[in-house]
Symmetry: C2
Subunit: 143 residues, 2 copies
DNA sequence: ATTTACGCTACTAATGTAGTAGGAATTATA
DNA sequence: TATAATTCCTACTACATTAGTAGCGTAAAT
């Protein structure tokens, strides 16, 4: 049930951008430094967020990345799904035809409930919520 | 966020044993057949369940496996943790010292909530609940 | 023109996953 | 006591995924 570093790093980058919202583009170099991530690796993750419409970029000198929407308009599920795809504890939850017993499989019912619980949390939290939670005292260094 | 086949197969085996509760030992060969899993692979998974106290075994001819407790005494979280370890979306949720910013990390707060939601589901469901849910019409063939 | 920064693609090392394989130990039963 | 059935234990292997490196191209500010 681990979350990939890809997704963790990507979410941390999104949080950084949310904190910098309305303050012009933020460079990957800065984010990478603050979050202790390789710039080159971060580039790849942020590219995914860009093509997913979560962030947008400005090229050239003084360029960088910006959040594409206001932090209160970005649900964590948006970011998560963009980086990791659907939560998909098992394939059959999303694709009932994956197994011909799906319809009355009790194990599948369990995984469906688990997935629902995860999605509920991710759907109910926005980047703004995370910033509010942070308050004044902290930065968002983390895993 | 995938669940390993190890855990999925193990839970399916536990469900089979729950269905067979109070009917004597059930052989892996039978479970493997019904669930379309390699016996040899299943052996390894069930060994973990055994050392975790979820099932017990009888060796020799006419031996097999039995659920160690009544199905309503076995929470899915017990089975899950035995096979997969803690849910651990990220290491820092369980081990705050994994990262020195853990205490005020907003990303960590998110993962903690996600994990909590998953654990709540798994804690609240027993094998008996799954059997009841199944009713008469279905077997538990599945992913 | 130069510098800064994103954009794209390919490659690689390490790790984890999902098995396969063989045989030893134990027990029921004929 | 011999045989068959079944769990128990350990090692090995092929494949996929993950995490990260590397290099060069493209765009824009100054």
């Amino acid at each position: 049930m681990k979350v990939s570093t890809r997704t963790r790093y990507g979410i941390r980058a999104a949080i950084e951008l949310a904190q910098h919202h309305k303050q012009g583009p933020l460079q990957l170099r800065i984010i990478a430094e603050r979050q202790a991530i390789s710039v080159k690796y971060l580039e790849q993750l942020v590219a995914v967020l860009r093509s997913g419409g979560i962030v947008r970029s400005l090229r050239g000198a003084r360029g960088g990345y910006l959040l594409a929407k206001a932090p209160n308009q970005v649900r964590l599920s948006d970011v998560f799904h963009c980086l990791e795809g659907p939560v998909a504890t098992t394939e059959c939850v999303e694709d009932p035809e994956f197994c011909d017993r799906s319809l009355d499989c009790v194990a599948r019912k369990l995984w469906t409930r688990v997935e629902g619980a995860v999605n509920d949390v991710l759907d109910s939290v926005t980047l703004q919520d995370l910033l509010d939670q942070a308050g004044k005292q902290s930065q968002n260094y983390s895993i």
